[in-house]
Symmetry: C2
Subunit: 418 residues, 2 copies
């Protein structure tokens, strides 16, 4: 009961703070963010020291090199983090926008106005810069945020949250607009996920296991993507040079991210023309290829692909390739094995492109572009709080807009219903 009460108190404080945050003028929010950036640079050494505590414990726990790297904060990375806060400051204020307005025959003027969601709970894993990213975006969008980071980055996260707290206080705001869950009790998450009357949205950021655990236990709406099994389909009428460039980029430019391609689908009529070259390209990139029988005809060193491969997010230099007899088969494959994240077609045929766009039910559909563009910054949102493969609320890369709701405002001059 101690933990439950502690979490309720924390969420109640955040709910109260969300009313303060919602009413902050754009100027005030920008002033706070600018103070955050300054304070972050000023406290750079303190943050590095806090981070070193985390790194020492991580070393003792024998984290992988990749995990250690994600966890590490250097003065340079802190500079970058402060710069990112200033980028958020520059974004236009998403609160109070008139999304639509119209007048009714009875004279009522109705407008749909953007308002903050309220309290956002972010549950994330080791990268401590997520702390600042999320805090700045929630603040800019007039929301209060409750942060629950991984225990590996606890001291780093706390040092970063202290920077936000100091900036808020120096602007006269005492409310818990940005708060960090400090208990190490793993049940804290489950307690928070029950508080649907206090918290408006949960965004889990991390591996599939974390996200599933959150989604399965939450009474609060969750926006999420479990994984990114992204496809590129090379159509019969593709520009083959373009196709090779895209197929290389989508897989190899940064294989460890959710918008990297995991499966390449090739129309059988051009398989002979494109697969041998692609085989060379992937071999040079040290990318393992797992293919069906026809693929292996053109890339003899490829290993046999299994049913399981089609449904696997490798997040690595591994690619599965299937030769399909037509676009329908490609779309069926994507429907069956895809994760509705991002799928691309390479084709010069406009009708094929439009059919693909219509029939592929994914949050982002690309025509003649790499799946790697599916990203809030690449879409011009200026920031990304997450990517959703759900259909409710926000879908695809989410910027500030994903943190907004709206209200209807109806202005009359005494109208009553008859």
């Amino acid at each position: 009961m101690g933990l439950r009460n502690e979490m309720i108190r924390c969420a109640q404080a955040a709910k109260g703070a969300s009313r303060v945050a919602a009413e902050l003028a754009a100027k005030q929010k920008n002033k706070i963010l600018s103070k955050v950036a300054k304070e972050m640079l000023k406290q750079s050494q303190a943050i590095v020291r806090a981070n070193q505590k985390d790194l020492a414990m991580a070393r003792a726990r024998r984290l992988t090199d990749a995990a250690m790297d994600r966890l590490t904060l250097t003065p340079d990375r802190i500079k970058h983090m402060a710069k990112a806060v200033l980028e958020v400051e520059k974004l236009s204020d998403p609160v109070g926008r008139e999304l639509a307005a119209w007048k009714r025959p009875n004279g009522l003027r109705i407008s749909k106005v953007s308002v903050p969601l309220g309290v956002i709970l972010i549950i994330y894993e080791s990268r401590p810069n997520v702390t600042s990213e999320c805090a700045s975006l929630c603040l800019k969008s007039g929301n209060a945020v409750i942060l629950r980071g991984g225990k590996e980055s606890f001291h780093s996260n706390l040092a970063i949250v202290r920077v936000y707290e100091k900036a808020l206080r120096s602007c006269g705001i005492k409310a818990s607009v940005v708060s960090l869950i400090q208990t190490s009790d793993r049940n804290a998450i489950d307690e928070l996920l029950q508080l649907d009357e206090l918290i408006n949205l949960v965004i889990p950021r991390g591996g599939e296991a974390l996200i599933r655990r959150v989604a399965e236990n939450s009474r609060i709406p969750v926006v999420k993507h479990y994984k990114g099994i992204c496809h590129v389909y090379i159509d019969r009428e593709a520009d083959l040079e373009m196709a090779k460039k895209i197929a290389y980029n989508a897989k190899c430019q940064r294989p460890g991210v959710c918008n990297a391609m995991e499966t390449l689908l090739v129309h059988r009529d051009i398989a002979e023309k494109v697969l041998p070259d692609l085989g060379r390209i992937y071999r040079n990139a040290k990318c393992e290829v797992r293919g069906d029988a026809l693929t292996r005809k053109y890339i003899p060193w490829a290993s046999k692909v299994t049913e399981k491969d089609w449904a696997t997010e490798y997040l690595d230099l591994i690619l599965s390739i299937r030769v399909v007899k037509n676009m329908e088969e490609a779309i069926d494959h994507i429907t069956k094995y895809g994760s509705a994240h991002t799928d691309a077609i390479v084709t010069r045929n406009r009708m094929a492109a439009e059919t693909f766009v219509l029939k592929v039910d994914s949050s982002s559909v690309m025509v003649n572009a790499s799946t790697r563009f599916s990203d809030g910054n690449e879409y011009g949102f200026g920031a990304e709080i997450g990517i959703s493969t759900d259909k409710v609320h926000a879908r695809g890369p989410m910027g500030l807009e994903g943190l907004m709701s709206y209200k209807y405002v109806v202005r009359g001059n005494g109208q009553v219903r008859t």
Copy 2:
């Protein structure tokens, strides 16, 4: 396990059908809806006969007169239902709208295009016309719908769904775009609510108990409002004639609905001028009044209001009244006891109105208009599938737009990420 499998099969069929529905052209959907309206009139007698079976059972179960009335279908009501389908036909197609479009510096053209949500589950109580309302709106918006009506209206619902099935088949569509859960097993709902990979959205329509049960057991996102505790605040600078008209209308015009006023808040500086008249008005309307001490000073026949009253949705000719010392106190009252449904201010002071609009965190905020206007039809949506007091996905009255999601379409000419 039998029930679970049956529900999974039903949801899988709906998911398959949702792909068919999503690709239907506006013309096809309108043709189907027009056939539905025709067929409904043609089968009017059969529907009445089915309804009589329900009525006979309801009589045996001793339903209240009000419940019997809600359940009853007459040839006239069926005509009205068919007409409502034609109204939905006339609405513009919400699918495939370009919600936004922009070009990136690298030449990528990004557009945000509306797409159907997929499969909608509607859980509702006795009124059988909800069956047709929901089926027509889901069809128009390119969604598949699973309907779970109350057992009292089972035969009526089935007869109405048969009309939709026949119209769909006659247009060559065999898929389960509109389906009705036919088992009487009450656990069917709980089984369906687990199928978050097959069903995209749940809309419970009915009493608070039903809605709470759905929200508590669902792994699928739910849009809902538990209740409507709507307030009217009469400001010190209100036009008093307007205030009385609105305060009467909001309470008495139709007290049994969610957008009727339950609590009236009156600024103390004008209480003396407005409450005695309102007392007469409510007495003439046979509306019971429960007031705080100051209210009872001006309406001596009013009974004492209790803390519980402030949080009660009467849905009846009962009103609680509180005299507040200023607008802040009114807003605090609304924040504490309101249900974020609809709240109104009556004032001539523009600044007061804008402060109220900003600070009242409800899905609809009215200025100088009756709360009764909070309604999809009154907002000009042409139809209403529900009202949401949640902040995620849809908020306030929901028309076709509330049944839509979107996808990002990115068109390039070979762009890759560097």
